[in-house]
């Protein structure tokens, strides 16, 4: 049995806009048996606090990074001894770390398409930004470092504190587990202002530095626009029947179980990907073979700016009630923290909507290395010819941005047309409630 056979667990990259993360806390202790997909740590990034999952079943062997440490993407956080080894290994030493804390049950099936030692990021961002190579030899475990400098805080509070020059360590947090919220900063005095630089020392005094999230989103989108040959298709769809069905269902349901129209689009996109699997793929630098599982990403705008696009695993296999529950949970955690690494990394196609903001149609940029993105506009009453008569109908504009290296317009049109057909299917009430085989 050698340490070289241990599996390193690196700080994952959760997208092109992540360069580093701060370990908030370990959810399991050395010596614990872990199953692939178990939550094992919380990490704070510009996108909030995310839950990291373990990608190898076995024993949580050794901690390398302590709570409070900020480390670069790819840095080994801990080591896991794979199960095959565990069976022959001596009994694990007694846990020296605090007892594990309860964590919520997983809301999605652990990923099945990733290799055990590969962080999800490796499949998410090839070519977008070099990821530090993973360590192949075990470094000596460092002595635990004090975490006195780490302050639990929301992403917005951290950004505001940075802008205002407030030391978060001096702020009493009112959020969960004492986390500092933006509202806690209202009455906090600023840190002493440094001497103002002279005009000569400031090339452009009007220039305000961009936030890290804004900068890296910009870089990723610029690269996608530059390197991915986008083409766009649009399709107007009468969603009157679908909305009528949703309204009738919602009349019977308590608020906690009601549907949002957005989930219908996610549902239809996931099912259409089965018919046109070429769009359920990621560009690997040379090709984009269709992926076996459909994990539709849902773009969610964050309060305070920025966005994330976590995925609902096996979207196409979920009946509408289950899908709505997953969608609601995902949006909730995207806004308030608690997304899981697999959700951030596994998306195979993204759906984005600006209908809430009154946008009637949009031309989104592909979230590379995915090869397509679907835009959903605002549902509006419009004149519509039906059976030879002009009537007012609720119409939505669907757009598709697709990678021309992977698919041509003809097949892409088939995909978008299928989405439209599903939304207008008179048997929607039957198919939507059934789990797909």
């Amino acid at each position: 049995m050698s340490d070289a056979e241990l599996v390193p667990m690196p700080m994952p990259s959760l997208g092109a806009d992540m360069e580093s993360g701060t370990l908030v806390k370990w959810l399991r202790a050395p010596g614990d048996r872990v199953e692939r997909g178990d939550p094992i740590a919380e990490v704070e990034t510009d996108k909030g606090i995310l839950v990291i999952e373990v990608f190898t079943s076995g024993t949580f062997e050794r901690v390398v990074v302590s709570p409070g440490e900020k480390v670069a993407v790819g840095t080994v956080l801990a080591y896991v001894r794979p199960r095959a080894e565990v069976d022959h290994a001596p009994a694990a030493p007694p846990a020296s770390a605090p007892a594990p804390v309860p964590v919520p049950a997983p809301v999605s099936t652990p990923p099945t398409t990733l290799t055990p030692v590969t962080p999800p990021s490796a499949t998410l961002t090839p070519g977008l930004r070099p990821t530090p190579a993973l360590a192949t030899a075990l470094p000596p475990a460092p002595a635990p470092r004090a975490s006195a400098t780490f302050v639990r805080a929301s992403g917005l509070a951290r950004r505001l504190a940075g802008e205002k020059g407030i030391d978060l360590r001096a702020v009493r947090g009112s959020g969960p587990e004492g986390a500092v919220l933006a509202t806690d900063l209202a009455n906090v005095a600023r840190a002493p202002e440094p001497p103002a630089p002279s005009e000569a020392a400031t090339p452009d005094a009007r220039t305000k530095p961009q936030s890290t999230m804004r900068r890296v989103i910009g870089a990723a989108m610029a690269r996608s626009k530059r390197e991915v040959p986008h083409f766009y298709l649009g399709h107007s769809v009468d969603v009157g029947a679908a909305l009528a069905w949703l309204a009738a269902e919602n009349e019977k349901l308590p608020p906690a179980s009601r549907y949002a129209p957005a989930v219908l689009f996610v549902w239809a996109v996931a099912r259409a990907l089965r018919k046109v699997p070429e769009l359920n793929a990621r560009w690997d630098g040379d090709a984009a073979p269709p992926l076996p599982d459909v994990h539709v990403g849902c773009a969610v705008a964050l309060r305070g700016g920025g966005l994330v696009a976590p995925a609902i695993h096996h979207t196409d296999r979920k009946a509408l009630p289950e899908l709505m529950a997953a969608f609601r949970d995902l949006v909730e955690r995207a806004k308030r923290g608690g997304l899981r690494t697999s959700e951030m990394a596994d998306g195979t196609l993204t759906v984005t909507s600006l209908g809430d903001r009154g946008v009637e149609w949009l031309l989104p940029i592909i979230f590379a290395p995915q090869v397509a993105i679907v835009g959903v506009g605002r549902i509006t009453e419009r004149p519509w010819v039906r059976d030879g008569t002009v009537v007012a109908r609720p119409i939505v504009e669907l757009t598709l941005a697709a990678d021309h290296r992977v698919i041509d317009g003809h097949r892409a049109a088939s995909f978008l047309g299928t989405v439209g057909e599903l939304l207008q299917d008179p048997a929607l009430s039957l198919v939507a409630s059934k789990e797909a085989p």
Binding site: A182, N250, P254, A256, R258, A262, D356
Partner: protein, 86 residues
């Protein structure tokens, strides 16, 4: 049924709104303003708000009435009517 005053309903509404928009200064919220515009609240947030009000007060706001709880004044009036508040 629990008896609620209008002040109770106002406090309950603002408390749930604060969970959705924790960074907002609700003490300066215009009671007649649409919170969707004032606080950048989207349709999923509204659904969350309605769900939270249902759990907290026992009032099931049907979908057609969502628009009636998108201002503080409107929500207090609507909830008061539904609950027979004083």
């Amino acid at each position: 049924m629990t008896a609620y005053s209008r002040d109770d309903l106002r406090a309950a509404y603002l408390a749930e709104l604060a969970r959705i928009a924790p960074e907002a200064d609700l003490s300066s919220l215009d009671p007649a303003a649409d919170v969707r515009e004032e606080l950048d609240i989207d349709s999923m947030d509204v659904l969350h708000l309605v769900t939270a009000l249902h759990a907290r007060l026992g009032v099931d706001v049907p979908e057609r009435d969502y628009v009636r709880v998108t201002t503080l004044d409107g929500a207090v009036a609507y909830l008061a009517t539904r609950l027979g508040a004083t």
